[in-house]
Amino acid sequence: MLSINDKDLGTPARDSANLVSVEVDGHAVTVAAGTSVIRAAALADVAIPKLCATDSLEPFGSCRLCLVEIEGRKGFPASCTTPVEAGMKIRTQSEQLSKLRRNVMELYMSDHPIDPFECKAGGKCELHEMANAVGLVHVRYADDGRNHQHLPIDDSNPYFSFDPSRCIVCSRCVRACDEIQGTFALTIEGRGFNSQMVAGQHERYLDSECVSCGACVQACPTDALMEKSALEKGRADRAIVTTCGYCGVGCSFKAEVRGDEIVRMVPNKDGLPNHGHSCVKGRFAWGYATHPDRVKRPMIRKRISDPWQEVSWEEALAYAAAEFKRVQQKYGRGAVGGITSSRCTNEEAYLVQKLVRAAFGNNNVDTCARVCHSPTGYGLKTAFGTPAGTQDFDSVAKADVIMVVGANPTEGHPVFASIMKRRLRNGARLIVADPREIEMMRMPHVEADYFLQLTPGTNVALFNAMTHVIVTEGLVNEQFVAARCEPHEFKFWREFAAEERNSPEAAERITRVPAAKIRGAARLFAQGPNSAIYYGLGVTEHSQGSTAVLAMANLAMATGMLGREGVGINPLRGQNNVQGSNDVGSFPHELTGYRHVSDSLMRAEFEKAWNVAIDPEPGLRIPNMFDAALDGSFLGLYVEGEDIAQSDPNSQHVAAALSAMEIIVVHDIFMNETAKYAHVFLPGSSFLEKNGTFTNAERRISRVRKVLPALAGKEDWEVTCALSNALGYPMDYSHPSEIMDEIARLTPTFAGVSYEKLDRLGSIQWPCNDVAPTGTPVMHVGEFVRGKGRFLVTEYVATDERTSSRFPLILTTGRILTQYNVGTQTRRTGNVAWHAEDVLEIHPHDAEQRGIREASWVEVTSRAGTIALRAAVTERVAPGVVYTTFHHPETGANVVTTENSDWATNCPEYKVTAVQVMPTARHPERLPADRVIAAATPAAR
């Protein structure tokens, strides 16, 4: 069911410059060529009854309800499948049409309760609305005829149920699964009266390939597919547009509310990142916001061995402030700092870094992007001048070749993956570079042209080999390079790329990717005409993460794949506000807009605005904070929205560092792992409880709107203000819009951003200023932000994390669709139905050698530590490589990861850890094996 108040125009918009004028019931209307009659009528405010048509799906023409009369044509054509023609005169109402429609509706209603009170949607479903629209008040066919009322309800999905007795077999759900989601999990089985919608091979929804994106539920015009929350709570009375708090796609949602309770989250049709689509997390996994585990009262304790004591906000804040001051007085101004989070709004991250720089008086502020995409910032800023993705998401629709590197979009960024899959089904070619097979390689109607299954840690060698092919085979876009790039640096780079040691044959020995495949992929990429790179943490979380980003920039510049739609380099950001938290000054060396703290002119502007001197030296980065804690020079930390004890590498090292600190203030919604080392706990607010903005992976700033009252009484920005005030540095804002106004005043790329404009435009992609008053969908058009693009030599340097006889396998990590990062939110939702436990994927050859069986317990030992988890034996990983997710704290994946990090940014090398894997008898009491393995690898089926 659509969101309340959504208008459905019947069929999708058409993209054509040619306009066609028609008349509908005497009303003139002009539309793009190719537009359907039903849509043209809707645009003229003439509603034509319909059931199988909806504007998110291609027309189907099956329900026969949207019939019209067209002057000069015989019969009654379906208005959904009939395109407009110039001068067409359409009649939507006549006696004959009314009779036909009523007869059709009568047949539908003969197998469906006509009484709206029996409708689970309270008579608000489209079926009942259409019955009213055609004036159907009585069904002539007897109740005791053949019907589908006996069919059992499929209640297996945790979030929605399917009642086949209410299904009218309109195929909207099937088409939504095919066209929008691209999973093809649903079908219509049987013919005639026996036609029935089924999931998978006539399985329960939960057991089928269904990924629970909710597209079918949204498309359903009846009460056959309904959210369980809506069935339980009834129809919402209002809808509030807000932005999802999960991944970096930043989907726009309508939170439907009844009183102070959320009834359901419905993807916003007008949302530009997602165009009305959603995934299982954003659509359904929001229940954590009111989970009983939520902490609602501030707490303090003198020692971490003491029990927590609930106190007032005033007491908690006063205690925290006094302790920070004591530590600074005793150990120096630089002995304390703060960590912002990509989970928080731009305004909150801005305030935390302001508190650190202004109230603490140092630059010891960092953000969790340190441990994910900091190499993206370094690499793209160095090469192009801006540390951000170059395109908007819609750009992928113009791509001819899509290269996915170190990313698993169907699991990590599922809504964007659906957009990408649609383009691939329409003919774009696909290159996948990953140590592990991902779902995108082979899907319905899509198969990757090249799968470059490289050894973890060898991305740079692969990119260098691709550019070698481009340089030595005359595939350089000479015109682009001559016009757009630094000539001297290009010349030197070109010589480097052409060297034999960068050839595919040489790279094959490093990467294990056959040279012929590298050559083929490079040629395909260069051929385009539009080739785009999409990448994830499989690129950045390496000792050469920044080098790899630079190498991709070289590849894109050399082939001219920048500065227009359909091309570009696009980081798929893991969390909702990775881009934004970086934009607003969360790194220790940069103020807002990525300007270095040593820039005295820029610093002076902040000093004037903040009325305080700002340290011109960079502060500590997160890994440096831990090291400094252990040497006694960093002993106080304010952490907002980040569970560093669980998410940062080498957990034992992190635990030792946190244990050494004298004051840790954790500001979060749950008692997380880091809180075990904390002295003050400040209860946070979820994204549903506050106002602010998030900035997604395409630089799109979107509003976060308060849907529920803050459970702990304060929104997070209010808490940071209160802490700053307690520290003696006044922060006085009455609404987050004032914080954004301050960011805009101090940041040239945000100069044109305001809440008023966001409300008016829906969202804005920065840069937004006088040059681009409504934002910038595609960057570097005509010229790079830094002027000329900069080629840099990207020598491959093998990681120090080497395999050996003791640690012969390489462990790499990733995410799964239904869980999110360290699982703080998703483990507290129905999503545990799919992934109750992390498992270790191991190749059959490696498993056989070690006597490891499917679902048996194994011990994973690295140079840093040992963990135990169950094995999943699969050919998705290559021999010599093992893989796990890190969604459950008991897995302790970061117990084994090491402190190796990217040379430029200190981003940890999560993706390469040398390990040994051996069978163990540990943890025999946990979940049944069949459930765990089946649940953990849905994409592997």
Partner: protein, 75 residues
């Protein structure tokens, strides 16, 4: 802070800039990277160590650290 860790980090930075065609540019780039991204306490500890280093720092990284030392000296 753990000096071995700092030395490794400096050497890693050096390994990236080692491919620069101009030695002076490479040395300067490393020094500039340390100045731009490292907290002063880390830089100072490394500078102090470079004076007594017996080969843990690569020659290029050591040269850069010594240049950094010069740059940090008050004029």
């Amino acid at each position: 802070m753990d000096i071995h860790h700092l030395v490794k980090m400096a050497n890693d930075i050096g390994a990236f800039f080692a491919s620069s065609p101009d030695h002076e540019v490479a040395v300067d780039s490393i020094a500039q990277h340390l100045k731009s991204f490292w907290d002063p306490r880390m830089r100072n500890q490394l500078i102090e160590y470079a004076g007594r280093d017996d080969g843990d720092l690569t020659p290029l990284a050591r040269e850069a650290v010594l240049l950094l030392q010069q740059k940090q000296r008050p004029a």
